[in-house]
Symmetry: none
DNA sequence: CCGGATCTTTAGAAAGTCTTTAGGACGAAT
DNA sequence: ATTCGTCCTAAAGACTTTCTAAAGATCCGG
């Protein structure tokens, strides 16, 4: 997604159209509008939006028809906004392929949050892989590569690396490390952490003596240096 | 997906837990429950549900913490159910990674429709024949071939292989293996799993001492190494 | 610059996991 | 009733990971 996400608004009430349009633009989206189902479908084909907001009650082709027509060829997230709060409507819309349903009146911040939630999933990126300069950490697969080579880490080493990398840029106290990695195992000392940190650096640092990823913060703990890239 | 979708319910109210559990089972899901955030995270790691329902207000680790901890490694759909309808709560939960938010009281049919909407996305077309480098697994016919030769597997061995192969690339926790293959049969131990894994490897691995398909992840479990081809 | 503490690294002991084999229990089919 | 195949328990040995200890390097305040 190189520019702003495009959101298509379909509603027959010009006032609502304009107000939503303004709010979305203020929130950084590229908003376009259509006044009914027929125009909505046409606009959808032309603009291929990243997300569509639609009302249900509209003259001509209504929201239900619009949803099912779009779902015939696209999986773009669809969020329904409607005064009709009846269960049957919600269920029908959701089962036709809508992804979320908000009843009027609604709060704009909530609507924006729901839009963010939908867009987050659409962008198939965010695959729980942390990428730093030459170092990738796949949290789900529990795999780490450095400069393309796969690196075999023990359970403890991976836990350390994950903890630091998910707090990249911020120093992590050694007590916090003990609490999170050795959760409540008694007798774990600072030395233990250091030994494992040494082993971890030997594996992931090209030059362990001059660390590139994990920096020591004396009297504090450690810090993962780079921002994700 | 060889069986019903697994839904994890996290709520501190036993009445709600049980009622949701019954509704979901009646609707054809495999429901499991946890009473607070900590238990929820543990259950999540073991069962790897297809969707999670969670409350926000809970003793100990609350819903917000649970969501962010799970989002650190997984993108499984999360649906929040809460009495706290405040905008701030909704926005925070959604921005932490939740996919939908329902306020109590809610209607069961609507909840089920929202669950269907969330699950619809995750499940892309799943072929019933998995093909890996030299190894084919026909889930429907329950047949396995390696290098063209048909391999006779016992029920347990096939269940193990299917579980690993449908999660190819990701490590599968040994607790999860026990939960899914020996579903809640008490007294099943890690050693039991290992014995069967040994037998399975002897049959499908050209050189069992140097496994090509099933790799051991010490302290974690096992991983089916290759991506489908 | 010095003293006291922290930090790095190595090496080996301790603890735990993993593989494999063997044998008995159980159920289904003959 | 016997046979066959499957599943589970137990146990030995190999293997890996984790922890403890200690020596030298490094850092900081005074």
């Amino acid at each position: 997604m190189t520019s702003e996400p495009v959101v298509l608004i379909v509603d027959d009430d010009p006032g609502i159209r304009e107000s939503l349009c303004n709010e979305l633009r203020a929130a950084g989206y590229d908003a376009i509008t259509a006044a009914d189902g027929r125009a909505g479908l046409a606009a959808f084909r032309v603009h291929l939006p990243d997300l569509m907001l639609t009302d249900l009650a509209m003259p001509g082709a209504d929201g239900f028809a619009l949803i099912s027509q779009i779902r015939a060829f696209s999986r773009t997230p669809i969020l329904v906004i409607s005064v009709r709060g009846a269960d049957a409507d919600k269920i029908r819309a959701l089962d036709l392929g809508a992804d979320d349903f908000v009843t009027k009146p609604f709060s704009i911040p909530e609507l924006l949050a729901r839009i963010r939630a939908q867009l987050r999933r659409g962008s198939a990126a965010a695959s729980s892989v942390l990428t730093f300069d030459g170092l990738t950490i796949d949290l789900e697969r529990r795999r780490v590569t450095q400069g393309g080579r796969e690196i075999k880490l023990t359970r403890t080493e991976l836990a350390l690396l994950e903890l630091l990398a998910t707090h990249a840029g911020k120093p992590v106290f050694i007590e916090q490390i003990i609490a999170r990695v050795w959760s409540s195992a008694p007798g774990t000392t600072h030395d233990t952490v250091r030994v494992h940190m040494s082993a971890l650096r030997r594996k992931i640092e090209p030059d362990p003596a001059r660390p590139r990823y994990i920096v020591t913060e004396p009297w504090i703990g450690y810090r993962f240096i780079a921002e994700p890239s």
